[in-house]
Symmetry: C2
Subunit: 717 residues, 2 copies
């Protein structure tokens, strides 16, 4: 049974023991009893403390071994130094599910780290399922299991619903829960993962994705420990049709530093993480409310939008324009309506309104029976519309209620999703909001908030659609490591591991079918001119030495060599220049290289990420890569189609597509090369640290690509 | 008296007549009476309608001439066709301040447009102050003047305070007001400007800036009609130390189209508008709540932050990291604390906390008397800190209240501003929130919201500081049009207005002291080689013809010409190539031009904006300008220092500063050139449409700049 399957018993225990229970029901070790009673937990509760007979109406036991049955879940809330002793009692008693609330472990001190290691060892040996230490516990709201001390549980009448939430920060996680409750977001589960000595964030998310009551899983993450498990969770999200949304902190360098000191979690490279989220369809939240705002659409839309084309109907032109601006900024489309549609709308839209998208039906429409419903139906019937956004401003009172009923009536039979932005105080239009709530129509306070939530849902919907439409082979590149090739590549790297020369790096790339410049190493002036003649003039000469990084700084490069005599002279010149800078150094000769004119410079890179393994990077050449940070990342291997998406994600790729009347570049060959490169870095993942192909020249359509320079940095083996 | 001075009487009338008043107090023409009574208006109210004796407790009059005194403000709420008749009655009666609520004018039809023009004419002739038509009216909350039909006034106990708000959308404006009331934001005034036949948005903003009760002015704008008035409003905002924040829609092309159809307002080029807002220190809002969130800091900070260095103290590590991420993303700084500070903090921060910024005091601190106050004081005393952000997560109940009191106590004597993000339901920590509210400490729900608001205020504060520190001469470039130069420039353009050749454009630039390539036009092969020798080889030859835009496409360019013979041959070649494409065309000869190597290509442009007049644009060369839209705009003229700011705003300028070990470019010369160019376009504003200097070559430090190519498009004169 996987960890996530075992979690069923953890989240739905028939009995709970609390080791270190206190009679002060407002203290950390007293609150669980208070909350379990308050939220109607139906199972047995066993406070464990030799000092008391009874706590909060529950019989108190002197020791874990005294409870009538073996508790299905145990909470440990005692001083850190005592935790291991009591954990051993759990083992003796046969308890399997344990929340260690106590703090003072790896997050705190070297001694704490040692104790945590011991806990991990105990768990492994005895098959314990441990949440924590330093965990604020969990709640299963449907069954009133509030195995937590968080004061968030002081809230009464908790909203129960389809959102599962796991957090690597206890305080912040329960804060989020609290704010979600204020927004009437229904939760199924919340869990604070603490130091994750046993069960980790991804295990909890996996469990929630499998739970039939959960329809969306959100997480607060400071670091992802296991890239492979992350991919599995994403895959499960896709299978289960349940979106996963993560609020991941530690994006900035200072933030990362702070996250490191806060927990042991690795913050990682955020750009890489972002690329992998796109690759696997995991959504990201910037602010807490992004989760709530998106969840409303996920829970209330009867179906997800088929595309990103938004029709907007507003009772105020201003709101319409604001929504359009935001939609366009976010990459949603606001299509123009055809003339026939506008003519149909003109029959129902009042004279002060407009009939083009965004349609301004004006406040007048409120007093015209059926006109608003007709307008909505005309718009929903358009082929060019995927989703309808209705923007209401100052409608209040009875008229607002009627308007809400009209919306609800149309939405009830509509085949496309509808959302509402209603910018008014609830105090003035409470009944209208109630009507929309009852009808399950998602409602926002401003057009900007509505557009942001819509963007998230459309991103998810389009990712899913794209995935489901794609063949298995492009989803999971049918990549088989080629044992022979791999062996020779590894041998090649190991033999030259100190550092490979440019020539060697390119030979390695050639092994994987990646096109490189024609070239050869010459060890004499004569040989240089012979090789140049073979390759064809003009050629470039470059000193070949693994030790010289900046060849041009030492006069180690000559370009545009047009003939044999020039080649010989240049050879001597280059060697002499370099000898002056590196006297006595072993030179590997001089690289004679074909010169290619035309084409666009791009960069391909690979990093061996500690969490996600081999990751491929693509960007346009030049220092713009650094200044605009306009690059995309994907976990390898990727298919040609993935590579095309990766290229498309880079803004500067517009150049490759022939911006401003320039020649189109061979994007197909580029995509094939990225895919081949991604396979290469999977085969070589045990030996490489970084690979840079810079520049890779993308030639005009049909002419392919060529690696002009490359650098492979091997791992310390 | 300026319009904005006259508005005092408009907003503070001692009597109000309502023409077209209805006895149905829930109808548009009945509500003003209801609201005036409800919100305690102390002046006289005169409903005008021959049908009734009394409306809502006010005596009703048959005609405007019957009222006991001349009403200081008149609201007209009748069918559009009747408006002019009643407006004439206003004139007869001597009324000066009029709100025309009626719609059906320029926003609606050509006939409406004519009527509106007539209204404008009447107003001009008789010195009327007209708000509208198509205006939802205004409210002066301090004096209960609710001269509006907006149902927003149904809210009871309106929050009165220092925010003035003017809106070009009635419905959306009052919606915003409503949502602000929910957030307890105190308003002084709100006005919906309608079609602005008389008083415009900027007039209202000017009035509010002058009003002593107002401390911040916000606006919803679809278009700015008068760029000069915009600059005056910004200048007034600076003088009065009152920030102006605008939510300007119509940023996207579709949005602009919709804004056009919605009102007659011009949406303009949003990038230009954005540059001018930066130039003049006007803040922009993306969402309604941005206004409220920023206003809390403006109203509650005792002083604005001196800089952008943020110290963060949190009770949860997670919240701290989130805040850091957002601050860094927004360009705020989270400075590292020196060791001595950390040692001092270590004495008061609990063992589970951390002492580096962001400081995690952990939830433990709540139970340690005085520790939190000590920690805050240590941090506030740091020189490297401009503002303190306190992040609280799950503190609730009595402990939360104590924590809030500690914060209030420290804030009371602190010399630096303090803000709080408290992520918990108000239901659990109501008393704590009340303590903070009473102490005037701005409070947000999440770290992200706190960081966004802080960014706005820091931007404003730094703009002010920068302005106040700058000398008058750099603030208002002492630019005097040079009459003689201007005359010759204008003559030059008029004589060649069809289109100027590259050579002529550069001559024009030279007039303004802008450095251009050495060059001359040759009309024979012989002359070409002579000029080349004069200039010095290598040279470039370019066909000189105002009609040929893409010279290289027709073989009209030869570069790298190294000697006399080559120059002669190239001359003949170029002329022949061009003759083939343009047989019989008048050629102006061939331009012989020095060739410059090295340096960075940048672009300088000028547009003659319909609202803001001559505007200068700066960006890096290459097609990256288009793809990344990495350009900055300023209204001309600008000083050298303005130009330096403009350069700094362009991300790609990192290259000019010597990124990646490249040579530093002559940024000083570039700034001087931009300033000179800005003066030129002011002098030429009546005759130019667009000017493009592309490329302008910025040479290494100390070597200046050179215009390599330029294009001047004259206006249709």
């Amino acid at each position: 049974m996987s960890v996530s399957e075992k979690l069923d018993s953890f989240f739905k225990p028939s009995s709970i023991a609390i080791i270190g229970a206190s009679q002060n029901l407002d203290s950390i070790s007293g609150r669980p009893m208070k909350y379990l009673r308050m939220h109607g937990y139906k199972g047995e509760v066993y406070p464990i403390n030799p000092k008391y007979q009874e706590i909060g109406g529950y019989k108190c036991y002197g020791s874990l071994k005294d409870t009538p049955v073996v508790p299905e879940l145990v909470m440990i809330i005692i001083r850190a130094e005592l935790v291991i002793t009591f954990l051993k009692e759990c083992v003796t008693r046969g308890c399997k599910n344990i929340i260690i609330v106590s703090s003072g472990f790896a997050e705190n001190s070297p001694e704490g780290k040692l104790m945590q290691a011991e806990i991990q060892e105990l768990a492994r040996e005895n098959g314990l399922l441990i949440c924590g230490p330093n965990s604020q516990g969990m709640a299963n709201l449907k069954e009133g299991v509030t195995a937590t001390f968080s004061a968030a549980m002081e809230m009464e009448n908790l909203s129960v619903g389809p959102l599962g939430f796991a957090s690597q920060s206890g305080a912040f996680g329960y804060s989020t829960f609290c704010l979600g409750q204020d927004e009437k977001i229904g939760f199924t589960y919340i869990v604070a993962t603490g130091n994750e000595a046993g069960v980790g964030l991804l295990d909890f998310m996996e469990f929630m994705l499998r739970d039939p009551d959960v329809r969306m899983v959100a997480g607060y993450a400071e670091g992802i420990r296991d890239g492979n498990q992350f991919k599995q969770v994403a895959e499960l999200s896709l299978q289960q049709s349940k979106p996963v949304m993560l609020m991941k902190v530690g994006r900035s360098e200072v933030g990362k530093r702070a996250a490191m000191s806060h927990t042991a979690a690795l913050a990682g490279n955020d750009r890489i993480f972002d690329g992998i989220c796109r690759q696997y369809g995991v959504l990201r939240a910037d602010n807490i409310y992004d989760i709530f705002d998106a969840s409303k659409l996920f829970f209330q839309f009867k179906k997800l939008p088929d595309g990103k084309r938004v029709a907007i109907v507003s009772t105020s032109g201003g709101a319409g324009v604001m929504m359009v601006d935001k939609c366009v900024e976010l990459g949603l489309e606001v299509p123009e309506f055809p003339d026939t549609t506008r003519e149909n709308l003109a029959r129902v839209v009042p004279s002060l309104g407009t009939t083009q998208n965004p349609v301004d039906v004006s406040a007048q429409i409120i007093s015209m029976p059926d006109a608003f419903k007709k307008a909505m139906r005309i718009i929903l019937a358009q082929d060019c519309v995927d989703v309808l956004a209705i923007l209401v401003t100052m409608a209040v009172g009875l008229r607002a209620e009627e308007l809400a009923m009209d919306i609800a009536e149309v939405a009830a039979t509509a085949e496309k999703p509808i959302l509402v932005s209603w910018s008014v105080s609830r105090a003035l239009a409470g009944e209208a909001f109630d009507v929309l709530d009852r009808a399950g129509i998602p409602t926002y306070k401003t057009p900007v908030q509505a557009a942001n939530a819509l963007k998230t849902v459309v991103t998810y919907s389009m990712f899913r659609k794209n995935r489901l439409e794609r063949s298995q082979s492009t989803l999971h590149p049918s990549f088989q490591a080629n044992a022979q090739r791999k062996a020779s590549a590894l041998k090649f790297i190991r033999e030259n591991k100190d550092s490979l020369t440019e020539y060697e790096c390119k030979q390695l790339l050639s092994l994987y079918g990646i096109s490189v410049t024609r070239e050869g190493v010459a060890e004499s002036a004569r040989e240089a001119s012979e090789k140049a003649a073979e390759i064809g003039f003009p050629v470039a000469l470059k000193i070949s030495s693994p030790k010289i990084m900046h060849k041009s700084d030492v006069g180690g490069i000559r370009i545009g060599i047009a003939g044999a005599a020039e080649a010989e002279a240049s050879y001597l010149e280059v060697v002499e220049n370099v000898r002056r800078h590196y006297p006595g150094d072993d030179l590997n000769g001089v690289l004679v290289q074909e010169m290619i004119s035309g084409g666009y410079e791009v960069i391909l890179g690979a990093v061996n990420d500690p969490q996600f393994g081999p990751v491929v990077m693509f960007g346009l050449g030049g220092i713009y890569v650094e200044i605009y940070n306009d690059v995309s990342y994907r976990a390898a291997p990727i298919s040609r189609q993935d590579a095309l998406e990766m290229i498309g994600e880079v803004k500067g790729s517009a150049i490759l597509r022939g911006a401003r009347g320039k020649k189109k570049a061979d994007i197909a060959a580029l995509a094939d090369t990225i895919a081949a490169f991604s396979e290469m870095i999977v085969e070589l993942q045990d030996v490489f640290k970084e690979i840079d192909i810079n520049p890779l020249l993308v030639l005009p359509e049909g002419e392919g690509v060529k690696v002009v320079d490359a650098l492979v940095i091997a791992r310390d083996l």
